[in-house]
Symmetry: D2
Subunit: 138 residues, 4 copies
């Protein structure tokens, strides 16, 4: 785990809130999409941009695809380390997003989230977004 961690572009700690548990006593599956989205927004913030700012420039990042593998459920009172790595594939921005239980590092979910950009409503090449994320894209 240690090796891979150092490769992430961003990570943040998130605490489970009890209302996120479902009747089985574990975090409901949909909440992980919330955690992933929250992490992307925090990452944007660190990168010096925001969905609001992008919207003002006429760019709307749009979620196109999510693939998420559920490995270990989180439950009441637990914390997670939500990690993110960004890469670009033409017009698509691909976020590799992995969540680990904190502090023991047990993998919780592994996800790949694909975002594209609409510029004034039409699919764009994504160059403006790429600029905002310049230092993270290799």
């Amino acid at each position: 785990m240690t090796d891979r961690t150092t490769e992430y572009d961003f990570e943040t700690l998130i605490s489970v809130r009890d209302y996120e548990l479902d009747v089985q006593g574990i975090v409901n599956n949909a909440n992980y999409l919330h955690y992933l989205e929250h992490t992307r927004h925090e990452f944007c913030h660190e990168a010096g941009t925001s969905f609001r700012t992008m919207h003002a420039r006429g760019i709307d990042p749009v979620l196109r695809h999510v693939s998420i593998e559920y490995l270990t459920p989180l439950t009441s009172g637990q914390q997670m380390r939500s990690c993110l790595r960004l890469r670009r594939k033409g017009p698509r921005f691909i976020f590799q997003q992995d969540i680990y239980r904190h502090p023991d590092g047990v993998p919780v979910v592994k996800a790949e989230v694909t975002v594209v950009c609409l510029e004034n409503g039409a699919l764009s090449r994504g160059d403006i977004l790429a600029e905002a994320f310049e230092k993270y894209l290799r």
Copy 2:
């Protein structure tokens, strides 16, 4: 129950969705605020208006106060009849909102929801909203 029902201005049926249950196996308390909001929006729709339309006219209805009594919890597979009665008290629009388990009519929650109107950011007398709800206000 039957008598009171005829006094409501609006009612709608809502089904519990399993993801709304919490770890105790009953609908989480916050979801009732969702049900109440959903009912008000459906009511606005029937009244021929919407929050979007009002916003476009420069009016923003704002939630000021909610008082909610929890009587009987709802659980998986159940339906509710969500009822609403509207009255005005100066600038305040007061929604009496009662939810009954369907079809047996057991009271689930009783709530009083107070909404005021902002017109271009300032508290308004509410005359434009009163006009939209004219036929419901006595």
Copy 3:
């Protein structure tokens, strides 16, 4: 579309509730996982079983993987037709879940949801679940 529809094992109508919209005015991406889960539970109900019943028999269906493609966003006041087809691949139960805007049939999301069964905590071959879904598995 018409051809494929006849191949689904189950379908149900779901209405967007306004509180499911996010700041962009469209249904938040995580809510589609709620819709998909709700549809699976309704399907189980029609198949004559429930997660509660299965749990009582010592079987716990567990979500293992979700792949979801976002095609067209839903917004305020819209309805969706949520469709499901089930197949088995060894111990894995794979739900093909497609959501269409109703009534115009525009595709909204296409998802593949993989569920496995734990029996008394250990991964099972899934034979008990297969029995419950017998008439849907080909």
Copy 4:
């Protein structure tokens, strides 16, 4: 504000997560009930108990009434200080719960949350819960 703060029994910092915003760009009203619940659970944790523990002892705290006043909406990127004061009135446990925007201290919501205890399904005098919260009850 400073004076009153020192009177609270517990306080915790909570960050707004972007998916909690609604179409108006502010935190949806139902989410404040989530924040309040989260705060009560953290408080129980600090008091050395939990809903799980209480349940195991045959006690089920049940929400009976919430009165919530909305003063200032929270929005993207903001933090709140969620404060709680507990008192007992016979069988009822009353949580005075106030949320302030952090760090400027602007009042966000003021709420009064009433909880009673069921012991093996029947309304109890609440003595076991009172014991758990002994040092906070005056």
